[in-house]
C-alpha cells in the first residue's frame, strides 16, 4: 500500500521551515498567541519584512543573528488564515491553491457538524473565530523564558506582542491567548494527565532506526507524503515572484510556477475548555456505584485511567493495565497494541481517548473479528495497520491555559477546590500541524473521536468529548472490554470548544514574498 518515500524526502530544508514544526519549544515555559487582523496591507507587508529575521526557523536552539534586543532568545512564529492571505493581497492563484478546508475555515457550519462542534461548542458560541467574532487574519506565536530562569520571563511574550501588533504596523490585535507556564518535569494537562507524549517523528528529523516515523510530506508541503505523492500546494505564476523568493514546485524543475506552500504547513488552533470538576465528579460518582470496582480512590483512578487510556503519570495501560507504573523513557510509549497482547482492548480500552486518537496497530474498523482483520500478532499485519494509521497522524504542539485547579493535580484536591476557582476557565490551546487537513486533523476528529462506532464499538464517542448531535444517540456509552465486558452509560461532556481557526505556517521564502511591496 504505502510506497517507500523517496530518499530526498529525508532532506528537509530546515532553514526554510518555521521552528514550530521542528519543536514545541518545551524548554520555553512562557507562551502567548496573538490573534490579529490586517488593517493596512502596505504597512503589514513592511512589518512582515521587518519581523522576518526574528522568526525562528529550523533548529530552535540556534540564536538568529540581527535580532532586536527585546527579541533575543525568544522564539517567534507567524501564521495566517485564508482571510489573512486575502487581506495581504496574495495572488489569486495561490489563494485558489490552498486546500478547500483551509479556504472554507474551521467554523464552516458543515465542518462543525462533522467535527462535533455543536451545542455549547457550536461556532456561534465561540469567544474567538466563528461567525460572531472579529475576523482573525494571523497569529503571532511567542515562546520565551528559560527553565528555572527569571520569573519575569513569563511577561516577555506579552511585551513582544504589545511591541509588534500595533496600528503603525498595519495590524489590530483581536485577542491574546495566554498559556499557563509549562513545567517540563510535570507536563500535565488540567485533568491531571501527563501530556505531549507519543508525537510521531518526521522522517527528516528522526534518528537512524527511530520508530514512529512518518513521511515528511505528512506535515511539510513540498515533500512526498505517506502515499509517496507530493501534497497539493498553493502555487504562483512565475512572474509574480519578481525577486525570485520562492522555490519551484518540489517535483517539477521546469514548471512555469513557483511553490508558495513548499516548506510550509497547515496549523490548526483549537481552544478547548476543560471542566475538571465535572470530569472527576463523574469518575468518583460512577466508581462508587460499580460493585465490581475497588471502592474509593483506587477504583476512581483505575476508571479515569481507562477512559483516558493512560495513567496520570503517563505510563501506558497496555504495559500497566491495573496499576500505575513507571515511565522511564519515551519508548515506554512507543509500542504496538498487537505485539503488547492488547489487540482487543482488554488492557487499554478500544474507546479510550488516547487509543482512539492514536490507534497504532488496532485493526480498523473491527478489531474483534480476527478472521476478517488478520492475526494481530503477525508483524506484517501490524505494519500494514501502522502504515494506514500513520496516514492520519499530526504533530501536536498544544499547551494548557488557565491556572490548575490544584497545582498538585491530585483529583481529590482538585475536587476540594473552591467553586470560585473551579468557575475560572481553564483548558488546552490545542495546536497541531499537518499537510492535509481533511485526511489528518479532521479525520482524527470525525472518524476516530466523534464516531460512536469507532473500531467496532456501537455507541461510544470519545469519552472526553461526550455526546454530540452528529452522533445519533442521546447519550454516550463507554465500553470496558473484558470477561465480561462492562458498559458505562451517560458520560457527561467535559470538554467544549471555545474557538478555533485554520492557519497556514509559511516558509521563510513565502514570508519573504509576503514582505515585498505590492
Amino acid at each position: 500500500m504505502t510506497e517507500q518515500p523517496h530518499s530526498r524526502s529525508y532532506t528537509l530544508q530546515l532553514d526554510e521551515i518555521q521552528g514550530l514544526i521542528v519543536s514545541g519549544y518545551g524548554d520555553r515555559p512562557a507562551a502567548s498567541y496573538a490573534l490579529f487582523e490586517v488593517t493596512d496591507v502596505a504597512r503589514a507587508r513592511k512589518w512582515i519584512a521587518r519581523i522576518l529575521p526574528s522568526i525562528q526557523f529550523g533548529g530552535y536552539r540556534r540564536t538568529p543573528r540581527h535580532m532586536p534586543p527585546l527579541l533575543a532568545d525568544i522564539c517567534i512564529n507567524l501564521a495566517f488564515t485564508y482571510e489573512g492571505f486575502e487581506a495581504l493581497q496574495l495572488d489569486q492563484m495561490a489563494l485558489r491553491g490552498f486546500s478547500l478546508p483551509f479556504q472554507e475555515g474551521f467554523s464552516d457550519p458543515h465542518r462543525a457538524r462533522r467535527l462535533g462542534d455543536d451545542g455549547p461548542s457550536a461556532p456561534e458560541n465561540w469567544t474567538w473565530g466563528g461567525p460572531n467574532n472579529p475576523d482573525v487574519h494571523g497569529m503571532l506565536a511567542v515562546f520565551a523564558g528559560q527553565m528555572d530562569a527569571n520569573p519575569g520571563d513569563i511577561e516577555l511574550p506579552g511585551q513582544v506582542i504589545a511591541s509588534q501588533i500595533r496600528e503603525e504596523n498595519g495590524l489590530r490585535l483581536v485577542k491574546v491567548l495566554q498559556t499557563w507556564p509549562t513545567n517540563r518535569a510535570l507536563r500535565k494537562e488540567h485533568f491531571g494527565f501527563r501530556d505531549g507524549i507519543s508525537n510521531p517523528r518526521l522522517a527528516g528529523l528522526a534518528r537512524q532506526g527511530a520508530r514512529d516515523v512518518i513521511a515528511n510530506g505528512e506535515v511539510v508541503l513540498g515533500y512526498p507524503n505517506g502515499y509517496g505523492k507530493m501534497p497539493l500546494s498553493p502555487e504562483l505564476p512565475i512572474h509574480i515572484d519578481r525577486r525570485g523568493d520562492l522555490l519551484q514546485p518540489g517535483d517539477d524543475h521546469l514548471a512555469p510556477r513557483r511553490d508558495f506552500g513548499r516548506n510550509g504547513t497547515y496549523l490548526v488552533f483549537w481552544q478547548l475548555a476543560q471542566d475538571v470538576k465535572a470530569f472527576w465528579n463523574y469518575i468518583f460518582r460512577t466508581a462508587e456505584k460499580l460493585a465490581w470496582l475497588p471502592s474509593g480512590r483506587e477504583g476512581a483512578m483505575w476508571l479515569a485511567a481507562k477512559l483516558m487510556g493512560r495513567w496520570p503519570n503517563g505510563s501506558p495501560m497496555t504495559a500497566y493495565p491495573d496499576r500505575s507504573g513507571s515511565i522511564r523513557h519515551q519508548d515506554d510509549n512507543d509500542f504496538r497494541f498487537g505485539s503488547m497482547g492488547d489487540a482487543f482492548g482488554e488492557k487499554c480500552p478500544i474507546g479510550s481517548h488516547i487509543r482512539r486518537t492514536n490507534p497504532r496497530d488496532t485493526a480498523l474498523p473491527v478489531p474483534h473479528d480476527p478472521e476478517l482483520s488478520g492475526d494481530p500478532k503477525d508483524p506484517t499485519v501490524q505494519q500494514e495497520r501502522i502504515d494506514r494509521a500513520n496516514l492520519h497522524r499530526i504533530l501536536r504542539r498544544g499547551r494548557p491555559y488557565g491556572s490548575p485547579l490544584d497545582v498538585s493535580f491530585d483529583p481529590e484536591a482538585m475536587l476540594a477546590a473552591s467553586e470560585a476557582l473551579a468557575a475560572e476557565e481553564r483548558g488546552m490551546h490545542f495546536l497541531c500541524l499537518n499537510a492535509n487537513l481533511s485526511r489528518q486533523f479532521e479525520f482524527i476528529r470525525s472518524n476516530w473521536m466523534v464516531n460512536p462506532t469507532f473500531a467496532g464499538l456501537s455507541r461510544d464517542p470519545d469519552p472526553l468529548l461526550g455526546p454530540q448531535r452528529a452522533c445519533p444517540f442521546p447519550a454516550s456509552d463507554f465500553t470496558l472490554q473484558g470477561y465480561p465486558p462492562r458498559q458505562l452509560r451517560n458520560l457527561p461532556r467535559v470538554v467544549e470548544t471555545r474557538g478555533g481557526a485554520y492557519f497556514f505556517l509559511p516558509s521563510r521564502s513565502a514570508l519573504q514574498h509576503l514582505g515585498r511591496d505590492l
Binding site: 464552516d108 456501537s458 452522533c471 442521546p474
Partner: protein, 437 residues
C-alpha cells in the same frame, strides 16, 4: 425473505418544481428507531432498508434525471417480480407524492391513476451493472431482533461478577432463553433450534481464507471477453489524460464552490451517508463494452465472494452500493449507502480496493491515469478524492431504516446471535465475548 434493489430513472421536465418537491419530501420526517427519517419511505409495509430520491441536473449534452433508488425486503424470489411489487407498494403508500414527483417528468400521464403511476415507474426501471448488499439475507426484522439480542446480553453481563467465560456464557444463554418467553421483541428467537442457514459462518471462513483464487476464477470470463478490446486498451493507455487536481482547483468557479457547499449540506447528520456520483464515459467506441465487462467482473465478485464476507473489496462500511449506466450508456451513475465520513470512505477504498475502483471507473471522464485499466488511478490519493468530489451530486432525500447501526454492528450482531444457538464449549468463546464490544 430476500433483499432486492431497484432503481428507476425518469427524464425531468420541470426541474424547479421537482427540486421544491424534493425539499418538501426531505423535510417531512417521522421517527424511525431513534432518529427522524423522511416519511416518504418510512411505511413499514414497504420493508425499505435504504432509499433515496435524487435530482441529477442536466449538464452539457446530458439531460436532467430523477432517480428513485430503494433497497428492500421481498418475499418474491424473482427479482423482477419483487421490483414490480415494490413499485405497487410505493404507489399505494404515497399515491399523491408519487404522482406529484413523476408529473415533473417527461411522458407522465396527466391525472395518472394508481395503475398508470405504477406502469410508468416500471417502464423506467434501469438494470444495474453491479449491485452489492453488505448484509444480504438479513431482513429488517432480523436486523432489529439481533440488535436487541445484543442489548439483552450486554445488560445482563453488566450485572455479573467476573467468572470463567464458559460459566458466564452458560448463564447468558439461560438468561436469553428465559427472556424469549417474556420479551415480545425476542419472539422470533429460539435458541434451541439451529441458527438461520444464511449467512453460513463456514462459507464465510472459507472465503476469507481463499486467497487469490476467487479473483482469478471470477476474472476468467471477463479476460476472455476483453481480448478483442486489447488494441483499444493499449491505445487508451498511452493517450488518456490523467486528472490534475492542481489545475482543476485553479479553475474552480463560484458555481463549483456552491456545489461543494450543497454537497456538504447533505452529509454527516448521523452515522451513515449517501453518495451519488455521476460521470460521463470517456469518448471512444469500446468504452461502454469494456466498462460493462469490468463491471460484470465486479458484480460476480460482489455476489460470489464479498456478500458472504460482509464487505466489498475488504471494506466493511458499505450497506448497499450499485453502479448503472444512464443517458443511453454515456454516463455512469454510482449510489452507495455507507457508514462514517466521506473522507474515511474514500480513504478505505484507496487503501484497500484501488484495483476495484480503477476497474469500475477507469473508462470515465478525467479519471486519474491508470495503466491497463487497473493499476495507478485511485492510488493517486489527492487526485482521486478531488475527482470523486467533482462528479458527486447532492442526495436530496436519503432514508435509512436503522440510522444507528453500522454495517459492522449489524454483521457482528448476527455472529453474537449465532453463538447463542450453540452449546457452551462448541464455539470459540474468547472471540464471542469480544464481539460484545
Amino acid at each position: 425473505m430476500k433483499q432486492q434493489t431497484l432503481t428507476l430513472v425518469a427524464k425531468v421536465r420541470d426541474g424547479a418544481k421537482l427540486r421544491a418537491l424534493l425539499g418538501e419530501i426531505a423535510r417531512t420526517r417521522v421517527l424511525v428507531g431513534i432518529k427522524e427519517q423522511p416519511a416518504f419511505f418510512a411505511d413499514p409495509k414497504l420493508g425499505i432498508h435504504f432509499a433515496r430520491l435524487v435530482h441529477i441536473p442536466s449538464e452539457g449534452r446530458f439531460d436532467a434525471w430523477l432517480a428513485l433508488e430503494s433497497n428492500f425486503d421481498s418475499d418474491s424470489p424473482d427479482p423482477d417480480r419483487a421490483r414490480e411489487l415494490h413499485i405497487d407498494d410505493l404507489v399505494r403508500s404515497q399515491p399523491d407524492v408519487m404522482r406529484a414527483l413523476f408529473s415533473c417528468c417527461e411522458g407522465f400521464p396527466k391525472d395518472a391513476s394508481l395503475g398508470a403511476i405504477g406502469a410508468y415507474c416500471k417502464r423506467h426501471l434501469v438494470a444495474a451493472t453491479v449491485t452489492y448488499e453488505g448484509h444480504a439475507s438479513r431482513s429488517l426484522d432480523r436486523i432489529r431482533l439481533e440488535q436487541h439480542v445484543r442489548e439483552v446480553v450486554l445488560d445482563f453481563v453488566g450485572t455479573r461478577q467476573p467468572k470463567p467465560p464458559l460459566e458466564l456464557f452458560g448463564e447468558i444463554r439461560d438468561h436469553v432463553r428465559a427472556q424469549t418467553r417474556k420479551d415480545p421483541r425476542l419472539k422470533e428467537l429460539d435458541l434451541d433450534v439451529a441458527p438461520p442457514a444464511s449467512p453460513d459462518p463456514r462459507v464465510r471462513s472459507d472465503k476469507l481464507g481463499a486467497g487469490l483464487f476467487p479473483w482469478v476464477e471470477q476474472g476468467i470470463p471477463t479476460a476472455a471477453k476483453m481480448l478483442p478490446s486489447i488494441p483499444s486498451i493499449v491505445k487508451w493507455n498511452s493517450e488518456d489524460d490523467g486528472y490534475d487536481p492542481s489545475d482543476e482547483q485553479q479553475a474552480w468557479t463560484s458555481v463549483d464552490r456552491e456545489s461543494f457547499n450543497d454537497l456538504a449540506a447533505t452529509e454527516d447528520y448521523g452515522l451513515q451517508n449517501a453518495l451519488t456520483h455521476v460521470v460521463p464515459l470517456k469518448a471512444g467506441v469500446d468504452r461502454e463494452a469494456v466498462l460493462r465487462q469490468a463491471h460484470a467482473y465486479i458484480d460476480r465478485m460482489s455476489h460470489e465472494h464479498f456478500a458472504d464476507i460482509g464487505c466489498l473489496g475488504g471494506i466493511p462500511t458499505i450497506h448497499f452500493a450499485k453502479w448503472l449506466l444512464i443517458d443511453g450508456g454515456k454516463r455512469l451513475l454510482f449510489f452507495s449507502n455507507y457508514d462514517h465520513s466521506w473522507e474515511s470512505y474514500l480513504g478505505d477504498f484507496i487503501d484497500a480496493a484501488a484495483l476495484g475502483l480503477n476497474l469500475a471507473w477507469s473508462c470515465t471522464e478525467k479519471y486519474p491515469k491508470t495503466t491497463w485499466l487497473f493499476t495507478g488511478g485511485a492510488k493517486d490519493e489527492e487526485a482521486f478524492k478531488a475527482w470523486g468530489r467533482k462528479y458527486q451530486r447532492p442526495t436530496q432525500v436519503f432514508y435509512s431504516a436503522y440510522p444507528d447501526l453500522s454495517i459492522s454492528t449489524i454483521n457482528n450482531n448476527t455472529w453474537i446471535r449465532y453463538g447463542l444457538h450453540y452449546e457452551p464449549g462448541t464455539i470459540d468463546l474468547e472471540t464471542w465475548f469480544r464481539r460484545l464490544t
